[in-house]
C-alpha cells in the first residue's frame, strides 16, 4: 500500500481511476456493435445446429457406438479446465498474500464464470435425452461420478459468482454515488439495485472481508474437486489411456495452463481496447508469465509421468493407444500440442522478453488452442481402441470425425463464453476500483463519499 495522500490528491486520483475503469462500461462504438453482432450470430447458428441435433438425434454428430464421447466432452473438459483459473488467482494467490495478482482477480473470475457456465451447457448438449435432465436430480445415484460432477460444477459456479459479486458491491455503490454522467441510465439503475444499499462503513467492509475470506477458503476444495472429478469420468473406467491414477492432478495442472493463457489473453484485450495500460502493466504480464512457466513445468512433469511410464512398459492395449499417439494417426496433433502448448512456451517464457504483453499474448493463444486439442487427444483416441475388436459395423463407427453440426455447436460455446465475458466487462468495471484505490493510498471515506463533495 502506498502512502496516505491528502484528500484533494486522493479525490483527483480516484476520479481518474474511476474514469479509466469505467471506460469499458461507457465505450460503445462500431467495433462493440460489430463484436456483439458476430457473437450473437455465431451463437444463433450454434443454437440452430443444436435444434437439428434435438430433432434428428445425437447421430448428427460424428459419434457412434465405439467413440461415444467426442468433441463435446473434450470441449466440456476444456471449459472446466479454463474455469479453474478463477480459484487459483482470486483465491489461492490472495490467501498467500500475493499482491500483484489483485487487479487480475476480477478478470480471472469473469473467465471462470463464463467457462463453468458454458461447461454446464455443453454437458446438457451432449446428452441423448436433454429433456430428461431433471432425472439427474430426481433419480440421482450418488455412486456415479457424474452426480459428483454436477454437484461440484454447480457449487463452483455459485461460489465464483459470489466471489465476483461481493467485491463488486462497493464498486457499484461508488458508481451509484459518484454517478459519472456518461454511464447509461439503465446501467445506473442496475447498479443501484445490486449495490444493496452499501454505505461503506467499517462494519460493512468487515463483513465483506469476512465473507470473501470464507469463500476463498471454500473455493479451494471445490475448485480442486471440479477438475479432479471431471478427470474421474475417465479414470473411473477400465480403458487403456484413461485407466490411470494420476488423472486428477494431471488434469488440474493442465487446467492452470489453459486458464493462465485465457486470462492473459483477456487482460491484453482489456489493456488495448479499454486503454488500461497503467493497470494491466508490463509488470503484471511479467508476473503472469512467471506463473505461466511454473504451471507449465508442473504440467510437463505430469505429462512425462503420464506417457513415459506406460510407454516404458508397453502393455498390449496401452501400446496400441500410445503408438497411435506417438507415431500413428494422432502423432501430428499430439506432438504439436506438446510442442506449442508446453515445451516451446516454457523455453521462450524463461526469457524476460517473451513475458512482455505482446509476445506472451501470442504464446497464450497458441497454448489455449493446444490445450483444447490436448483434451481432444485425451477423449477420442482411447475410445477408438477398445479391448475387443471393432467389427461388423460401418466404417464411420471405427474412426471418429466431427461433423459440421458438432463444430457449429462447439463454436457456439466459444462465442457464448466470449459473450458472457464481454457482457460482464461492459456491465462492471474490469478491475475492483475500491481495492485498487486503497492500494494507491486513498482513504475509504473518500471512496464512499458522494459526488460533488469537493467545492
Amino acid at each position: 500500500m502506498e502512502k496516505i495522500k491528502s484528500p484533494e490528491e486522493s479525490r483527483k486520483l480516484l476520479d481518474k481511476i474511476t474514469f479509466d475503469l469505467t471506460r469499458s462500461i461507457v465505450k460503445r462504438d462500431e467495433l462493440t456493435n460489430f463484436w456483439y453482432f458476430l457473437l450473437i450470430m455465431f451463437a444463433l447458428v450454434g443454437l440452430w445446429g443444436w435444434g437439428i441435433q434435438i430433432r434428428d438425434g445425437l447421430g448428427v454428430s460424428g459419434m457412434r457406438d465405439y467413440v461415444s464421447w467426442g468433441m463435446y466432452i473434450a470441449n466440456f473438459v476444456f471449459f472446466v479446465a479454463v474455469s479453474l483459473i478463477g480459484f487459483l488467482i482470486s483465491s489461492t494467490l490472495h490467501l498467500l498474500k500475493i499482491n500483484w495478482s489483485k487487479p487480475i482477480s476480477r478478470v480471472a473470475e469473469q473467465v471462470a464464470i463464463a467457462a463453468v457456465a458454458l461447461a454446464g451447457i455443453i454437458i446438457i448438449n451432449d446428452m441423448g435425452r436433454p429433456d430428461r435432465f431433471l432425472n439427474v436430480f430426481l433419480h440421482g445415484r450418488f455412486a456415479s461420478p457424474i452426480i459428483w460432477d454436477v454437484t461440484v460444477v454447480i457449487t463452483y459456479l455459485a461460489i465464483s459468482v459470489l466471489l465476483f459479486y461481493l467485491p463488486l458491491i462497493p464498486d457499484l455503490a461508488l458508481l451509484r454515488d459518484k454517478s459519472p454522467d456518461d454511464i447509461p441510465k439503465w446501467k445506473m439503475k442496475i447498479y443501484k439495485v445490486l449495490a444493496l444499499g452499501w454505505k461503506g462503513n467499517a462494519e460493512q467492509y468487515k463483513l465483506v472481508y469476512h465473507a470473501m475470506r470464507v469463500l476463498m477458503i471454500l473455493i479451494i476444495p471445490v475448485g480442486l474437486s471440479i477438475h479432479t472429478v471431471t478427470s474421474w469420468l475417465f479414470a473411473a473406467t477400465l480403458r487403456s489411456g484413461w485407466d490411470t491414477t494420476i488423472f486428477g492432478p494431471y488434469f488440474v495442472a493442465g487446467a492452470f495452463v489453459a486458464g493462465v493463457a485465457a486470462v492473459i489473453i483477456v487482460m491484453y484485450i482489456y489493456r488495448v481496447r479499454y486503454g488500461l495500460k497503467d493497470y494491466f502493466q508490463d509488470y503484471h504480464f511479467n508476473m503472469m508469465g512467471k506463473l505461466f512457466v511454473f504451471v507449465c513445468l508442473v504440467y510437463l512433469y505430469f505429462n512425462i509421468n503420464e506417457f513415459w511410464v506406460p510407454g516404458y512398459k508397453m502393455k498390449t492395449a496401452e501400446s496400441i493407444h500410445l503408438t497411435n499417439l506417438f507415431t500413428g494417426k494422432y502423432a501430428g496433433l499430439f506432438w504439436s500440442a506438446q510442442l506449442f502448448g508446453l515445451i516451446l512456451p516454457i523455453l521462450l517464457m524463461v526469457n524476460r522478453f517473451f513475458r512482455k504483453p505482446v509476445p506472451i499474448t501470442i504464446i497464450s493463444v497458441f497454448v489455449l488452442i493446444a490445450s483444447w486439442f490436448k483434451r481432444y487427444l485425451i477423449v477420442i483416441p482411447t475410445l477408438e481402441h477398445p479391448f475387443l475388436p471393432v467389427q461388423n459395423v460401418p466404417a464411420n463407427f471405427q474412426h471418429y470425425t466431427p461433423t459440421s453440426i458438432e463444430i457449429m455447436i462447439t463454436l457456439f460455446s466459444f462465442m457464448a463464453a466470449f459473450l458472457v465475458v464481454t457482457v460482464l466487462a461492459k456491465m462492471f468495471p474490469v478491475i475492483t476500483i475500491w481495492e485498487y484505490a486503497e492500494e494507491k493510498g486513498i482513504d475509504r471515506e473518500i471512496i464512499s463519499e458522494p459526488k460533488n463533495q469537493t467545492p
Binding site: G59, M63, R64, S68, R129, R132, P389
Partner: protein
Amino acid sequence: MEKKSRRNFMKALGVSIGAAGVMGSSTILSSCSRVETTSGDTIKLLTSSGELVEVQKSALKPADMPTLTENQKRGREGLPGRKWVMVIDLSKCRNARQCMKACQNHHQLRPEQHHINVLQMQDADHTAPYYMPKPCQHCDNPPCTKVCPVNATFKREDGIVLIDNERCIGCRFCIAACPYSARVFNWFEPRDAEKYKGVVYNIEANVPQKKGTISKCLFSADRLRDGKLPSCVSACPNGVYWFGDQNEDAVTNGTTHETTSFSKIIEENAGYTLMEELGTKPRVYYLPPKDRAFPFQGTIEENHS
C-alpha cells in the same frame, strides 16, 4: 373394461409377436416384420430366422401387457430364485450369425446395432483365429451400472443387467465404462420407430427402442419370464449356446435342447470368462475353441486391438 379399437388390438398383436414372442405350434416366433392375413383361419408370419410360416389364427393371442409401471417394477426385480448363466462353446461357432439376426429382430435393432456380435478373434500373432459371439457379459461386478447417474441401468437379483429406457438420460457413461463394448446407442430414431409408435415400453426386451437412449443384450429377459430360451440361443443352428440357471446348476443347449450340468461342462472343457483380470465377474462363460467343428475361414481385420 375399456374398449379397444381395432388398431390398438393390431398394435398389441404386433407387439405380442414382435416382442413377447407368441408360440405358433413348435416354431418360436420371436419376431415378425410382416403380418399378412390370408384366406381362412391361417396367418403368415416371418420368423426370426427369416422363414415364412403359416399358422392357425386361433393359435395367436395378444400377450398380457402389463402397465408401464408394473413392467418397470417387475423388470427391476427379476425372476426370483434364478441366477442366469450362459455358456458359449467356441469350438462350435462357424459364424452363421443366426444369433445376431434373431437378436436384431427381437430387439428391433438397426443392422449396425449388435446386442450380440460374432467377432473374429486372434489373441496373439501366431495363435489360431476363431469366432467369438459376444453378448453383454452380465457381470456380477458391472462397471456400467456403477457409473449410471440416474440408476437407469441396474443389476437384477437373477443376474441380468437391464436398462430402463424411460429413465436413461443418454449420457453414455456406461458405454465408456464397459470394457466389452457391449452397449449400443440409438443415435437416431430407432429402426421401427414409426411402426411401434405409442406402443407401451417393455423393459425386459427394451422395445420399442427409444431415440437418445442405450440398448444392449438383456438375455431376452422377456422370453425367460415366459419360460423360453433367449433369442440368440434358440436361433443358433450349431449348438454353440448353453443357457440356464446356475442355482439349478443346469444349462440347456439351444439347438439340441440337451440339458447338462453347468459346473461339469465348465470343468470338463476348461471354461473361462472374458478378461477376468478386470474384475468384472462375467456371467457369460466361454469354452475354448479346441477341436473345432468348423475351420476358421474369415480374415482377421487390421483394427484388432
